[in-house]
Symmetry: C2
Subunit: 225 residues, 2 copies
C-alpha cells in the first residue's frame, strides 16, 4: 500500500451587518504571471498531527483566525480531485510531488464576522469574505463541492453549537428567525417558527428584555449548551 | 510532508428476531499462539481508490456482504490510534511498516440481518453479529470509540435513508416505534411518537393493512425516499 497525502480544508461561514451569509476564501498565486485563484483555507496535515489540531494550525497560518469552534463534517476522497489542469500549475509551484493523491477532511465553522478580522499569510496573499451567492464556480480543486456540501450539512443539521457562535450571547427571537431564514434561504412563518423553537431544550428564555429600541422591547433568549 | 496510511472501518448494525441491536465484528488472529481479537471490518484504502468504493470492497472482502448502503460518518485521526501494544502484535504480522500512522474513515450501515449472511474471509477468520451491549471493551485499535461514535451519530441524526434499510418495505407504526426505542435505548410515549412521525414528510401512510394478525389490523406505512 502506498500512503496518501491528507489535508484539511476549512469552510468558515460568517454573517455581517448586511445580513448575508459569507464564506472566508483565500487568494493564491497560481503561476509566474501572478494569476490567482480563490480557495478554501486548507493545507496538508503534518505526519504526527491530530486532525482537529491540524485544522486549527492551518486556519491560523493562512488567515490568522484562532479560537474558532471547528467541526468535522466530511472527508473528500475522489482520486482525481487535485488532477485538473487549473490546480496542477499551483501544485507544481508548491509541492514536490504535485501529482500525488490528496484526500481532504472538511471542517466547518460559523463565526460572527465582527469579532474576527482575517489576515492573509503563508501562501495566501489575501483573505476575503465573499457572499456565498457570489462565489465563482472555479475555486481550487473540488472546493466548490466542499463548500456546497458544508452549507447543505448546516441546513440539514441545524447544529445549535455551530449556530450559537453566530449570535450574541443574548438575542431576540426575531434575530434567531432572521438567521435561520438566511441559513435555510427561505422565509419562515413567525408563529410556526416560535412554536418549533419553544420545543428546543437548548434555547432558553431569560428574564431580560431588549434595551434602547423604539418599539415594544422583546424578551432575550440564550443558548444553554 | 510524509504521506499517511488511510483506512476504512465499517460499523454495520443490524436487527434480528430478538429485537436487539447488533454489530457485525470480525475475529482476527493476533499472534502465533492463535490468540484472537475482535474488530470492526476494516482495512487500508488502495492508492487510487475512491473512499466509498474502498469501503464496499473492504466490507465484501472481509465479510462477503455487498449491496449495502454505506454512509460516511466521521474520520478518526488520533496519531496514536494504532500504537497500543494489543494492536502492534497484529500489525507486525500483517503490515510491512506496523508503526506507521493510519487515519481511518468510518462508514455506517443499518441492515435487516435476515437478509444478510456474513461469511468471513481474508484476514478475518470469523464474522459475528454481537449484541452492542455485549461488545467487549478491548476491540482492535480505537474501534470501541468508533462504534460508540457511530451509534451516537445514528441517535442524533435519525437518518431516514439509513433507518429504512432496517424495516420491511411496508411496516406498522408499532414496528417503527419499536425500532426507534431500541436505537434510542429509551421508551417512547405512543401518542407523542405518532404525532412526531406524522410530521415527517418521507414516511407515508398506505391504504393497506396488516394481514394474518389476531388483533385489529393496523395500517401499513412506507418510506418515500
Amino acid at each position: 500500500m502506498i500512503p496518501i497525502n491528507l489535508s484539511i480544508d476549512c469552510v468558515i461561514l460568517g454573517f455581517d451587518n448586511d445580513q448575508k451569509l459569507k464564506v472566508l476564501l483565500i487568494k493564491k498565486i497560481i503561476n509566474k504571471n501572478n494569476d490567482y485563484q480563490y480557495a478554501l483555507p486548507g493545507d496538508l496535515l503534518k505526519y504526527d498531527e491530530d486532525l482537529l489540531e491540524g485544522g486549527k494550525r492551518i486556519l491560523k497560518s493562512l488567515t490568522s483566525l484562532e479560537n474558532i469552534y471547528l467541526k468535522q463534517f466530511h472527508a473528500f476522497g475522489n482520486p482525481k480531485r487535485t488532477k485538473q489542469k487549473k490546480d496542477q500549475s499551483w501544485l507544481r509551484l508548491y509541492r514536490k510531488k504535485p501529482k500525488e493523491r490528496v484526500v481532504t477532511i472538511g471542517y466547518i465553522a460559523l463565526v460572527n464576522m465582527e469579532e474576527y478580522n482575517p489576515q492573509a499569510s503563508s501562501f495566501a496573499f489575501q483573505a476575503e469574505w465573499i457572499d456565498i451567492k457570489d462565489v465563482s464556480n472555479d475555486l481550487a480543486f473540488d472546493h466548490n463541492h466542499i463548500l456546497s456540501y458544508g452549507i447543505e450539512y448546516l441546513r440539514e443539521q441545524i447544529d445549535h453549537k455551530l449556530i450559537s457562535n453566530l449570535l450574541p450571547s443574548k438575542f431576540t427571537l426575531s434575530q434567531l428567525q432572521n438567521l435561520y431564514e438566511i441559513l435555510l434561504d427561505e422565509k419562515l412563518d413567525k408563529r410556526n417558527f416560535r412554536k418549533n423553537i419553544s420545543k428546543i431544550d437548548v434555547i432558553r428564555k431569560t428574564n431580560e428584555k431588549q434595551e434602547g429600541v423604539r418599539h415594544k422591547p422583546a424578551y432575550l433568549y440564550t443558548y444553554d449548551l
